[in-house]
Amino acid sequence: MATNLEFINSFEVTGTVQSLDCDNVFSADYDVYYLTVALKESSAGNDQWIRIRLIDNAGSVITASEYDYAQLNLISNSSFVESRATGQAQILYGGIGYTDDTGNGAGLYVFNPNDSSSYTFLQGQGGSTVGGTLYGTKGISVHKSAETIRGINFHTTAFWGSGTVNVYGVK
């Protein structure tokens, strides 16, 4: 049973970027990781998702179509929406970073990234707002290649102007 979190590293958006690498955070020290994710867009009107890719053992962001995901988008004033796909080049992730809100919050669990004989599995849950309306998300995803993963990349088609990702090992 997991009993505590151990801080590994913190990654902060500096300048205006479309991508944030959290490299060299997964190791043999832990099987499960917890990340807090708060990323915020830098210009109004883009309203794009946070997307995830993993970083392989050589330090390269994996762009192959090896990701599956299933996510429920929970909206406080309209019907919930399913987002799901297989064989994608990235994971659609919650915790959307819009400009017209006042912050957001999300957490992400990553399982078995350092195990070269296992797929890497992820679970995420978050909250954000669009025009003052709550957009919650809860999703699962998998990287369907048994290989050693050493980091995680967050990216968007818009731009981020601020934000922080903290990475913890679950002990």
Partner: protein, 212 residues
């Protein structure tokens, strides 16, 4: 606090995960207080409350200036009355409890009977799950994360996942997100029901420590 640590005259810069030298107990004490000594265990217990037959459970020392993310666990939650929402959350803004219908909620209900969406933009609380009973085993448990509580420039978000053996009875769970859409400093959390006392409860609040 001394600028010298580890008997190294150059006084190397110390930080979490990057301590150099040999440390005296005083060094460790000073560096720990300055958040510069490597101590693992970043899920830090703030407070556990347990008891019976109370109207509300208040957490009023949540250390909102130390943590950006809070984690709360609920166990053995049972209502005195039948078919009650036993884990409603209200937040204190600068010591004032927000009771107006300003909270937003988006929750997916899952049960052995049916699935349903529960959503609102004007609730008087974050209603994590209903259906609690007052008979044996009709208890609720789960967890919630809170984000940005101490940040006066940001809204306060919550994500949660709860489950219960209901008053009907059947197995019932809900997960989702909740929001206090007001940029304010939240310095307290209230747990309440929508009718009658909380009969039994064990609630723990943790902070998730960050380092920059």
């Amino acid at each position: 606090m001394s600028n010298e640590f580890g008997y190294i005259p150059e006084s190397p810069e110390q930080s979490f995960g990057n301590n150099k030298g040999i440390f005296t107990p005083t060094d460790i004490y000073d560096l720990t207080r300055a958040d510069k000594y490597t101590n693992y265990g970043q899920l830090e217990l703030i407070e556990t409350q347990t008891g019976t037959d109370v109207a509300t459970v208040d957490f009023t020392a949540i250390k909102e200036t130390e943590y950006n993310v809070h984690f709360m666990t609920f166990n053995n939650m049972q209502s005195a009355n039948d078919n009650i929402e036993v884990t409603q959350i209200q937040l204190y803004e600068n010591g004032v409890l927000e009771t107006a219908s300003v909270y937003q909620l988006a929750r997916q209900n899952c049960s052995t009977v049916s699935f349903a969406e529960n959503r609102t933009t004007g609730s008087d609380a974050m209603k994590l799950l209903g259906g609690s009973g007052n008979q044996a085993n009709e208890k609720q448990c789960g967890y919630a994360y809170f984000y940005n509580l101490g940040d006066s420039a940001k809204y306060s978000f919550c994500t949660f996942h709860m489950e219960t053996w209901t008053s009907d009875p059947y197995f019932f769970a809900g997960f989702g997100s909740a929001l206090l859409p007001q940029a304010s400093t939240v310095n307290g959390i209230r747990v309440k029901t929508n009718g009658g006392n909380i009969a039994t409860f064990t609630i723990s609040l943790y902070g998730i420590k960050e380092y920059s």
